[in-house]
């Protein structure tokens, strides 16, 4: 029998545990020594909550020292909250906001953001900002001014169970039609895979983004030069037909699937293929959450038509500063820059395809991150971003409001898209875009 621990031993253990708890996160965080302001300053951030942002926000919180306090808010859908904060007038309660290529276009055209060209130039060497490729600086600029510190590029790639495809002699699908045929084979021959395909088809933004990927792969443009919607053309209808053809191979609940639902379907071995966010690939190999670690492989998303572009779009995400804030903008910039340092990105290398060339071309990191080559190939294939038009998000939401009717058969693809086009035109006129 073990002797009962003495009070001193208990206190020692408790102190050790407390120390480990306090010191533990410090090992995982960046060192962040910023010049201390004379008065206490609070910097608040708002961002989405996907894994890489959880990690980067943790790094920014490490800047909370002395008079600086960094508060982070991560939400499942930050766009409505960010919009509300930016449109409310006066000082914006968030000094750092997360934007992607679509939300950035909306924010910058509404005059909600402030240029940071001078700060980028001033701190270029200190924060090794030359490490971010010129092309990405151009994509994130507006009228020649820098507004964003980009931290990642993202896209959709094909996730597929290499073991199952090899077992049944199926080639890695290069087109959506081939993917559907592969799904049919798996459904017939692999009873454990109840729903061979999975996709983020949840109502609203998610399903519209899937539509956009296929539509752009078919060569579709959302609008003509004057802003008249063209997404209701034959290509748009074809995109919906392809999506409908995939649905029988997905869960019957697919139209409610979020990004997390798809991840779980893959990790639990219930689905074998899907066009899915590359940034989620790291989670496929984690043995503590996946029943099939290492079983998934990655390739550029299949084209919607033979010889076409991958059914994907290139995205970037970054941090911006609102136009009106009540905190020293240089300090805010420094916190953002600390959050995207090369050292930080290397520490969380498995979480994203980062914006720094030195990180994403590091052979050791490329070897560790099996999904990076699929992203590189998708970018190299000439995959486009979403249109950088200030009214794009209105078109995107208009399609989102109608497309489910077409996918569920309550309307034909043409009826649904015509309705979306009409709603977009009315709202865009009302808001003064057209």
């Amino acid at each position: 029998m073990h002797p009962a621990p003495t009070r001193r031993q208990l206190l020692g253990t408790a102190a050790g545990l407390a120390g480990a708890t306090i010191a533990g996160p410090a090992f995982a965080q960046a060192s962040c020594d910023l010049p201390q302001p004379a008065r206490a300053v609070e910097i608040s951030t708002i961002s989405n909550a996907f894994p890489v942002l959880q990690f980067l926000m943790e790094q920014m919180r490490a800047c909370s020292r002395g008079n600086i306090r960094v508060e982070t808010r991560l939400t499942a859908d930050n766009l409505p909250q960010t919009r509300t904060a930016l449109q409310a007038g006066g000082n914006v309660p968030f000094q750092i906001i997360h934007a992607s290529n679509t939300s950035f276009v909306e924010f910058v055209n509404r005059g909600h953001l402030q240029p940071i060209t001078d700060l980028v130039a001033k701190h270029r060497d200190a924060y090794q900002l030359n490490d971010i490729p010129a092309g990405l600086w151009q994509q994130t600029a507006h009228e020649g001014q820098a507004y964003v510190l980009p931290f990642q590029s993202n896209t959709h790639v094909l996730f597929y169970r290499r073991d199952l495809l090899e077992k049944h002699g199926i080639a890695v699908p290069a087109t959506v039609e081939q993917m559907i045929a592969a799904a049919a084979t798996l459904k017939a021959r692999e009873p454990a895979i109840e729903h061979p395909l999975a996709g983020v088809y949840g109502r609203g933004w998610n399903v519209t983004t899937e539509f956009a990927n296929i539509y752009q792969s078919l060569g579709g443009d959302w609008f003509d030069a004057r802003g008249t919607p063209t997404f209701n053309d034959a290509r748009g209808q074809q995109a919906i037909e392809l999506m409908k053809a995939m649905l029988p191979y997905m869960s019957p609940n697919a139209l409610a699937f979020s990004t997390d639902d798809v991840m779980v379907a893959f990790q639990q071995g219930r689905s074998a293929m899907g066009i899915y966010w590359a940034s989620r690939a790291a989670n496929m190999d984690a043995p503590d959450v996946s029943r099939v670690p290492g079983a998934f492989s990655f390739a550029p998303a299949p084209a919607a038509a033979p010889g076409g572009l991958p059914s994907a779009a290139i995205w970037w995400d970054g941090f911006c500063i609102p136009r009106q804030i009540n905190v020293d903008r240089e300090l805010v910039f420094s916190v953002m820059a600390e959050g995207i340092s090369a050292a930080t990105m290397r520490r969380g290398a498995n979480l994203a395809f980062y914006s720094r060339t030195s990180v994403v071309t590091d052979p050791a990191l490329v070897a560790q991150n099996r999904y990076w080559p699929a992203i590189t190939a998708t970018i190299a294939a000439g995959t486009k971003t979403f249109p950088a038009r200030p009214f794009f998000s209105l078109g995107h939401t208009a399609v989102g409001a109608s497309i489910i009717d077409a996918l569920q058969g309550r309307a034909t693809p043409k009826e649904a898209l015509d309705r979306a086009a009409m709603q977009f035109t009315r709202e865009a006129r009302s808001q003064g875009f057209l």
């Binding site: 909306e106 109502r203 019957p252 139209l255 639990q268 009302s430 003064g432």
Partner: protein, 284 residues
Amino acid sequence: MRTRTFLGFAGPSILVMVGLMAVPFGLTIWLSLHRLTFRGEWLWGGFGNYEFILTDPDFWRALEFTLVFCAVTIPAKILLGFVTALALQRMGTLARTLFIACMLLPFIVTPVVGTLAFSWLFRDFGVVNYWLRDLGLGVNWWANEANSRTLVMLHYVWHGTPFATLVLFAGLQTVPRDEIEAAIVDGAGFWYRLSAVILPYLRSLIIFLALMMIMDAYRVFDSIAILTRGLNGTESLMYYNYRVALVDNALARGYAIACLTVLGILVLLIPFLVNTWNEQKALR
């Protein structure tokens, strides 16, 4: 009571009501007659927003679902609440205490957390679905309108019944014991006692409860935002308002929907308000 005395007592609360409700509502009506440009300018738009909404099929679907939702969930909650209250009355003190504590859990838990937990039970990998499938009754709750609407209503009834139970249980304690005993002596059975003694006593309380529940059900949002996001005809007026104003970023149209929503609730409440008015008049 003299007008001056009445105003002395009621004046402060009337001022607060005007400041916090009437002024913002007036402003909402005013803004609903404008359009908001992407540059942040408010331009006069007349009834354009209302025309847009009233010709939007999504608005009518949301209105239809909201009315169906009220019509199904309110009687269900009152009925279940009443049955549970009757059961509580027959329990011993200890059993009753335990039962009330358990029953209040869905009501106490933060709505978003409760809804999320509820939703996980029914998802593809959820426990309830797992059991149902074992029984050969697999239901895909997000696959069609009937299932999704049932799920949202189930959640709402699960969440709201404890409130009805508590109110009705309190009401049952006020039913005079001697009248019930007299009915028993006269040979009245359970159903007769219920219909001739208990329910007439609880009538006002049930009307009050229904009034509260109509206002609550008409504003249903959490259940839908977490469970279905309006998929399969489960978009309520509140969710439609949120989607248009904040997700679709059509703020001015959102104001117009808010005005129409207030108008709708007033129409729904008219029978109850008239009834309350008549009752108060009869008391004088």
